[in-house]
Symmetry: C2
Subunit: 294 residues, 2 copies
């Protein structure tokens, strides 16, 4: 199965899972549920849930079982975008080519919509059927750690806000990128593999794969901010540079950044080689993410 | 055992559980962990964790088993206070007699510290040992529902922000209060009872008790805002009235509010009567909360 046909297969199911898990817009309070749905259904590529399902599928064909967990991961990703865009944080007026959540619904509602998506994510995992409770409880923990403060998404965001391109070295920058973006991407594929039944050795392979593509993904993001026009990016380009942000492009330059992405992609593909044909789809994923940088 | 001696017994253990679950202040990023600890260790009365442990204790003597879950509930309560105080929300500069989290650490850090406490709460439940995974998974769900958008804390907060004293009727006001404050208080005691091993009938009794004291608690809060001087309240008094907020004091008057609290307290004590001597401590809790209104 090619990555393209995999995406075509799973994306409609991911949309359905999200739609089923999110309260409808007429439930009270309507404005809150509208804001949650506005941001969740803003045209995201569903990369993280797809990675979760691909990780699951490498060990079990019953990938539909993991759909609630995949949806929960997308909710956590979406909450982080809503809060990152707030005036007190990155102050972004646009997201995916539309007004960001707080521009559309006001700051208070945006803060609460983010809180609500984070809360609903854990509720959705806890409600998932068809998987053993101890495995789902472990998924709650893996997800919370990836989204948390120690080498996780929130910790990375704090370090990122504090960092500037002029005052940072390469290893500190790498730690920020691994935490801010890498941790949730890596957890997506690891949680999928774990719920699919991976043993400890294979889970370690997949976790290594996840860390490699997680870092590569954020480096590519830094590069896209430099090179892609606003309409294609869906948000304000060049903003990182303008604000003296610590990005790979600013610290290492574009050419070195491109080489790092190539090396991380090769690492990732090597890490899933032991899975044989079951790991081919994950390898395709790594190559797909690299191609974004071209 | 009197309520006083129960509090004396459990409070140090609750503090220890919170201290053990929260990353230390020197872990990276320090400012984030400082902000989390600043708000968690601000002198809160630990009412919700104590209720959780009292609910557990009504069905099992091993209340220490529930300490991680009790700590998680306090984290969720604290996150809600941090986000409620933000300029875009209630815009409160003081909390428990000290600068609120965003006044002390800045808005971005306060938003992220709240997010982090919410995330850590679920991680803490998922890490709890000594209880069956399916019970802990159910606790995750009960906690997320109580903190969520449908009749839960976030939903109540949105409705509360929208409501004004002049444009609301009694039943809408009651629904807001039940969601905003009541849901988490009720969940605290219900989750404790559930983890302690309550059967369905007794769990229903405890849930009814929790709903009664949850509503009574918020009515008392409305009344205290009218009557208590700033230094004793630890936050700006009379603010609700000044902002035309929909409070019981404003909509029903002080005397009717007091009568409602008395009725809800009597209801609550009636609801735990079937538990016999195991329910005495919970009954004391209800009376204790009523006394705050005097």
């Amino acid at each position: 199965m090619t990555l393209e046909s995999f995406f075509q297969q799973v994306r409609p199911s991911i949309e359905t899972a999200l739609d089923g898990a999110l309260p409808s817009e007429d439930r009270s309070p309507p404005v809150l549920h509208q804001a949650m749905r506005y941001s969740v259904f803003a045209g995201g590529k569903r990369l993280r849930p797809a990675l979760c399902l691909a990780g699951f599928r490498a060990f079990s064909p019953e990938w539909r079982t993991a759909l609630p967990v995949a949806a929960a991961i997308e909710m956590i990703h979406t909450y982080s975008l809503i809060h990152d865009d707030l005036p007190a944080m990155d102050d972004d007026d646009f997201r995916r080519g539309r007004p960001s959540c707080h521009k559309r619904f006001g700051e208070a509602t945006a803060i609460l919509a983010g809180d609500a998506l984070l809360t609903l994510a854990f509720e959705t995992v806890a409600r998932a059927g068809g998987l053993q409770p101890e495995r789902l409880l472990r998924a709650v923990r893996m997800l919370a750690e990836a989204a948390g403060t120690i080498d996780g998404m929130i910790g990375g965001q704090v370090l990122d806000v504090q960092a500037t391109a002029s005052g940072i070295d390469g290893s500190a920058l790498e730690a920020i990128h691994r935490a801010k973006t890498g941790a949730l991407l890596a957890a997506s594929v690891s949680i999928g593999a774990y719920l699919g039944g991976a043993d400890a050795a294979r889970l370690a392979d997949v976790a290594g794969f996840g860390r490699s593509i997680g870092l590569a993904f954020q480096i590519v993001d830094d590069m896209l901010d430099e090179t892609v026009p606003a309409e294609a990016l869906g948000k304000t380009p060049g903003k990182d540079r303008e604000h003296g942000k610590a990005t790979y492009a600013a610290v290492h330059g574009m050419e070195a950044s491109r080489r790092m992405v190539a090396r991380l992609t090769a690492d990732a593909m090597e890490q899933v080689r032991p899975l044989g044909s079951d790991g081919v789809l994950l390898g395709e994923f790594a190559r797909h993410l690299e191609r974004r940088a071209r």
